[in-house]
Amino acid sequence: MVTRTSLVIILLLTLAVIAGVRFSLLLGLGITIGFVLERYGFGFTGPWRRFIRDRDAQGIIAQLIAIGLTALAIQPLIAYAPGTLIGAIAPVSLTMIIAAAVFGLSMQMILGCGSGTLVNAGSGNPLALAALPFFGLGSFLGSLLIPVAIQSTPHIPLSLTKLLGVERSVVITLAGLLIIGLVVRSFSQGPIWNKRFLTAAILLAALAILHVLIAGQPWGVVYGLGLWAAKAAQGIGWDPNTAQFWVHPINASALKGSILTDTTSLTNIGLVMGAALAAWIDSVNRPFKQPIAIWYYLIAALFGLLLGISSRLAFGCNVGGLFSGIASGSVHGWAWLVAGFIGSTAGVYLRDNLWLLASREAK
């Protein structure tokens, strides 16, 4: 453990020198988030799955608390420093809602959401390793489709803080989360509190708040993955000037710069490394091979691709759209939650059937 900690410290100090302190802090933040998610077994897909299948609400309650704590801090912070700090505010639209539902379905198929796929890959899960490159490719393809989606259907950005003021926005956000918590509790069988998940939720909220203070914007995942694929595409001859999304100065600047200075790239790298650190010791006791037929890896790749495309069209995955969206006071986060959950419900049943088939064939 001492060796691994020393390596991380050396890595962070090196990055601080070659790129800047902010980027080093962001990588450190990503590593800590990845470590917490892996060590506490906390995430988004699993809790939704357990609620849909077993009426176990412990994970969802912890998620709601994490979002609520984050909202309580970042909405006033962003309002206090306009221009310097920004929220994850995105438009609501028909394509955004459909995309969130597709993401919800896809994340259940590979048991990994935006953060979950990175954490699972970092912990050596072969299905996540199969899905992740396609997640990145899909995110890039989705970025090419965003202008088409925006031109074909009305896209209306709705920020509760802009519409109602910060105080009311925070109250409405917390009230909304409370109502969902009560609804979830009414369907729950068994206890709703889990000390391990609650600890993870509090840590995650603290890290998400720190992310806003350091980066100036909320935590996200999918932008970085799409950026990596865009850079790879550029390497094989793709011209970014042909893509409306990538000619925008913000995206063009990200494409031109180093991924070591891109916020979501750094936290993504950190998620993989943090999960790897947390899983390293136990990894020798866990088999690499999954007890399934080989074709399920193609399913993982396909749904990885869909995760990427849908998360771009939904303006974020479960992290950038759902978690950071709701916490920032963006209505699109709430739409994401409802649509993503509907998609997840279908995904749980589809995954169970296909997994059963793949398991039988493997025997």
Partner: protein, 58 residues
């Protein structure tokens, strides 16, 4: 084969991406680095964020 192989693959892939980007792209310039924290500084968010919707901004 254990999960450790998977961890090594994942971390190697990340290292490959960073090295590939470093060699083919623009290396970071520490002299143009923003302030350590956006909060309280003049160098704020990059805006490169998942919720960014060019053409449908607020």
């Amino acid at each position: 084969m254990t999960r450790r192989v998977g961890i090594i693959i994942a971390v190697s892939a990340v290292v490959f991406i960073v090295v590939f980007d470093w060699l083919l792209g623009t290396p970071p310039d520490p002299y143009r680095a923003p302030d350590p924290m956006a909060f309280g500084s003049t160098s704020g968010a990059s805006g490169a964020i998942c919720s960014f919707a060019p053409g449908a901004e607020e």
